[in-house]
Symmetry: C2
Subunit: 305 residues, 2 copies
């Protein structure tokens, strides 16, 4: 019938369906009934058992007149098989992510703007709902997507222009620019026109690296150039720079509102806006933890934005 260690068949070519079939035949003591239960023909069951017979080098079942009797080896194989299938099922079924008991680290790349506006809310929610997760904030710098691709961050929050390759993203809200200045500034008396804006002396927030703010790009496309008196890498402390000076700063509108009470805020006359997104890579796209966290963050931000 079969020789032990039959070289003609690779034991690894057995799949879990075939193992389940073996288990059912063993339990039901019948090829025919197992076939019915599994929605197959008796013939297919016979074929599958025959394959298993070659793989295990054992007859597995011997006919005893009208019924079949498993061999001792078959009993043992079936017992092992039950554990094997259970393990595999557990492996194939992703355990539902439970924030309350979850542990791990989650890295967010963003810049001063997002940290100032949204980080407190995120941290607060996370401590309450998923206290086991360590939050790691890295500076997005001028090139946010690179943080994701390099594996330094799991989620990027910021203005994404291109929906580049390998990058999933979801828009949060649209942001406009605002100008901040000393309340005593002459230009603070009425809404700012583009002409006036271009004649003022500016404090420019460069955001460190090679990033160029959208309003600068738009101005350049219009053929205009900003009179820059001071360049700073971050909006932090911008309030004290414009207070008591004639300098004007341009920052996202929502940010201007948290810079301090002592400054005058008015709409920026450059006709453009940016859209803030969350973004991540394919690596995390299906991760239960990541889905939960990015959804949480998306909800928090869009609800208060």
């Amino acid at each position: 019938m079969t020789t032990p260690n039959d070289p003609g068949i690779d034991p690894l070519s057995i799949d879990f369906r075939t193992l389940r079939l073996l288990e059912r035949v063993h339990s039901l003591r019948s090829f025919t009934r197992a076939a019915d239960e599994l929605g197959l023909t008796q013939s297919a069951v016979s074929y599958a058992i025959d394959k298993l017979r070659h793989v295990f080098g054992d007859p597995l079942f011997a006919r005893q007149g009208r019924s079949i009797h498993p061999t001792a080896r078959c009993d043992k194989i079936v017992e092992d098989t039950r554990h094997l299938i259970a393990s595999y099922r557990q492996m194939a079924h992703p355990p539902a992510f439970d924030p309350a008991t979850a542990s791990g680290t989650f890295s967010i790349a963003c810049n001063y703007y997002e940290r100032a506006l949204w980080l407190p809310g995120i941290v607060h929610a996370l401590r309450a709902r998923a206290p086991g997760i360590t939050l790691n904030i890295v500076d997005a710098g001028g090139t946010g997507p690179q943080r994701l691709l390099d594996g330094e961050a799991d989620l990027l929050i910021g203005p994404i222009d291109r929906d580049g390759p390998l990058l999933h993203s979801r828009p949060l809200y649209e942001e406009t620019y605002a100008c901040v200045m000393d309340p005593a500034h002459p230009a603070a008396r009425e809404p700012l026109s583009l002409a006036t804006y271009l004649h003022l002396d500016h404090v420019l927030v460069t955001y460190g690296g090679r990033w160029t703010s959208r309003y600068i790009t738009v101005l350049a496309e219009m053929g205009h150039d900003l009179r820059v008196a001071l360049r700073v890498p971050s909006p932090a402390g911008l309030e004290s720079l414009v207070a008591g000076s004639d300098l004007v700063g341009t920052v996202p509108h929502r940010l201007s509102r948290v810079l301090g009470q002592s400054i005058h805020i008015t709409a920026c006359p450059v006709p453009t806006s940016i859209t803030i997104h969350t973004a991540w890579t394919a690596l995390n796209h299906r991760s239960a933890q990541h889905i939960w966290l990015r959804t949480l963050i998306h909800t928090l931000i869009t609800q208060s934005a």
Copy 2:
């Protein structure tokens, strides 16, 4: 790409070759190199991974420019997979039978003849080589194969005429019949002719049930009938029945030699012989323990027969 819990594909349809493929891709960080190693094309590997992606609802690997990076879920799956494959391999590989440490029960069906001749040797060898195995001797009765088919015995030793269905057997040796009588018996003076044999008064061993000894069958076919003065169910004590009487007993030749010194033994004139076999069912045909035991018994008996 893929939706979690994709209903279109049965997770159980994954086989162990595919899991090994996943493991290799994960280790080598390359579809192409895994394909080379497994003797497949990159295309086949891509197909297999795609199937796994649907089953697990996870991209498993994300392209990072020129190379690939596994997802966290993939790492975990691969780790589980290694255990799964190891367990399966152990299950598929029949553990070599080690007599010295083996335990269990082994049932032999046979009759007085085999017990008297061979059981001491079998017991002796088994105690020495496989002390953990319990030997269980059951009477074969008139219908030996039935003991096997009923599961009452693992091995039958005895004269098998038919190589019936579901029954494996291996011949041990050929046995002839001998006549035993009192040394003072008139017929003991010269070789026994068939004519003389038929005129003697016999003690017939019936072996209990419905069994008919071969020499009886042959005599009947020849149209002869035996003059039976006494019927006994077993050859045990036959010596004392023929000693000091005019009765003649017919038993297998080897058995006659262990009945006692005080009797005369001569060849039985009925022209026939029987062949002693070991026999077993398909249930035990591939069992390592059974193969070892029946080979041991076969060797013991043929070496001293």
